[in-house]
């Protein structure tokens, strides 16, 4: 257990300003936490770089909320001088020449990166078990998954190793693991934060997202990360805000909707009653809570739509991984360039990745594209149009972030789901429409966490945070660290 890093950013900031602790002590404390990790949370370590950075930090002012505080980053962020593999063998030994914009912005704010965290290979998975270092374990039950693809960031945040861990969210890759690890997982609006330097999985869905242990921390981090980046044309030029103001002043909108179909489908009675208990309390706090009938066939469309779009985009995004300019060299003395690439890619990608690539690529073939990729893109439009209709009248969608306990690792299957349950894929709504969406702890059941999720209109990130703060106060579940107290 760390002494310092189990606390929140705001707590550490206070301690730093009051000189109760130094940045270097925070880094050493974080390193101790990393060394004690028992969940397989880490890829490359950057201890020396972190110590050096900590030593260079001078005076910390009141309004330098992030300065001197350690953080961790998923292994799909390009980090200058630190090996970055996206937990795939095909990138073993790759040492980037540049920092992702998110990394450089946090560094500029004075934060110190101490290590890279494990993930599902190339972010293509939701279990946190498919990375080249093997499964990442749930801190609350080592037999269970912590969820993915941002598994190492979830587990390390839950373990109190650092108060912030960057992840990325393409379908629910931060918000689902947050639910399984009793952390706060925030995916801001698509385009709000530059993706430059984030290894792409499916760029039209990929979002910079991250784990903290309370809502206020999440708002400070967004203030640091948001904004137009000349290196990412999809980053929005809309004015960025002081998102912490929404949290501190509890600024929120008033109309909350929940989906009837989701409510009807919840089987876990304890979850359902806790969910309704929360809805009732929200009503008590003056919110209007509305049951909304979102088309069920569109909920059932979530899984295939997501799978086809993401697999198709991913085949193209990962076509640069050919072992020519970076990555492990081909073995077996290839005689042609095809042999060279095939040797690298056959060895470098796992079984699951290859299967997904074949299906994704098949759906893009000219003869199939209309029936597969384009159809999925059309389904996406219907899904998003209907969400926008929802948002015409309502300000937030409130959903449980997970509907059952995290799966046991030995019970997992990697096959394409034959009977997808829309509850498992519901958070993808946030990615299809680029909506800001946050998961925070709701309850524990048999010692295992369940989260609640709030999704709002695009670029209403502040209001989503403000609403989350309201819920955080209702549940009283914040700053949770596994094994603390």
């Amino acid at each position: 257990m760390t002494k310092w890093n189990k606390h929140s950013i705001s707590y550490l900031h206070d301690a730093l300003v009051k000189k109760q602790v130094t940045p270097l002590e925070l880094v050493e404390d974080c390193i101790k936490g990393i060394q004690a990790d028992d969940c397989n949370s880490f890829e490359a370590l950057a201890f020396e770089e972190a110590r050096k950075a900590a030593e260079q930090i001078g005076e910390i002012k009141e309004d330098e909320y992030l300065k001197g505080i350690p953080f961790l980053a998923k292994d799909n962020y390009s980090t200058k001088g630190i090996e970055t593999t996206a937990s795939s063998n095909i990138l073993n030994g790759y040492v980037p020449l540049f920092d992702a914009t998110a990394i450089s912005k946090l560094k500029r704010a004075g934060m110190i990166m101490v290590a890279k965290t494990t993930m599902d290979e190339l972010a293509m998975g939701g279990t946190g078990t498919s990375g080249h270092k093997g499964p990442t374990l749930n801190p609350y039950d080592h037999e269970r998954i912590v969820g993915g693809s941002s598994c190492g960031s979830a587990s390390s945040t839950a373990l109190g190793i650092a108060p912030l861990a960057l992840g990325s969210d393409t379908g629910d890759s931060v918000r689902k693991p947050a639910s399984y690890s009793a952390t706060v997982g925030f995916k801001p609006t698509w385009g709000r934060i530059s993706r430059f330097g984030l290894f792409p999985f499916a760029p039209s869905l990929d979002t910079i997202a991250y784990f903290t242990r309370n809502v206020l921390d999440a708002s400070y981090v967004l203030t640091a990360l948001a904004g137009k980046d000349s290196k990412d044309m999809s980053s929005s030029s809309r004015k960025k805000e002081h998102y912490q103001d929404y949290v501190i002043n509890k600024r929120s909108l008033k109309k909350i909707g929940y989906f009837k179909a989701v409510n009807d489908a919840i089987e876990d009675e304890r979850l359902k009653s806790k969910y309704h208990e929360l809805l009732d309390k929200l009503k008590d706090h003056g919110y209007e809570v509305v049951c909304y009938e979102y088309p069920v066939d569109l909920l059932n469309a979530l899984y295939p739509t997501y799978m086809i779009i993401s697999c198709a985009e991913s085949t193209s995004n990962n076509a640069n991984l050919d072992g020519i300019r970076f990555g492990p060299i081909a073995e077996g003395n290839p005689k042609t360039y095809e042999e060279y690439m095939k040797a690298c890619r056959t060895k470098g990608f796992s079984d699951l990745i290859k299967r997904r690539f074949v299906i994704g690529s098949f759906s893009l073939l000219s003869q199939n594209q209309f029936e597969m990729f384009s159809r999925a893109q059309k389904a996406r439009r219907l899904i998003v149009d209907n969400m926008n209709k929802f948002f015409d009248g309502l300000d937030y969608l409130i959903l449980p972030a997970s509907y059952s306990k995290p799966k046991k690792i030995k019970e997992l299957s990697t096959a394409w789901s034959t009977k997808p349950d829309f509850l498992d894929n519901i958070l993808g709504l946030g990615n299809f429409g680029g909506f800001p969406s946050i998961t925070l702890p709701l309850m524990f059941e048999d010692g295992l966490p369940f989260g609640i999720n709030i999704t709002g209109r695009t670029f209403e990130d502040g209001y989503v945070l403000g609403m989350a703060k309201e819920i955080e106060e209702i549940t009283g579940l914040k700053d949770l660290v596994k094994g603390d107290k």
């Binding site: 698509w190 066939d297 060299i329 095809e338 690529s361 029936e371 680029g434």
Partner: protein, 105 residues
């Protein structure tokens, strides 16, 4: 739609520059059955073919482009720092048969 056969799957993989084991091919073949059922389901959603395919999560057209101002390029040494197959300042590969721009059509 192209009919799914094991040959088609192998060809797809080969075009993606990797090989499959027979077991992997079999598994993909089985998965395709599921995928196709789901595709049929998408097709059955009312109104699905009446909307345009969606690429971007929301409509937010940009107006800004990059000014044509070159920045300092990478030194060759840095550009190839992660390359493990090089000769001098160039990337070395087994002889590529065919003319340059062969593929540019």
């Amino acid at each position: 739609m192209i009919k799914i056969t094991k040959e088609v799957i192998e060809k797809c993989a080969s075009n993606l520059m990797f090989a499959l084991t027979p077991q992997q091919t079999d598994l993909i073949y089985e998965e395709f059955a599921t995928v196709l059922t789901q595709i049929d389901f998408l097709k059955s959603i009312p109104g699905v073919d009446e909307v345009e395919p969606m690429t971007f999560p929301y409509k937010d057209h940009q107006r800004n482009m990059r000014e044509d101002e070159p920045k300092k390029p990478l030194a060759a040494k840095d550009a190839l720092a992660n390359c493990h197959t090089k000769l001098g300042n160039q990337v070395k590969l087994p002889k590529v048969v065919g003319n340059q721009n062969d593929q540019m059509e």
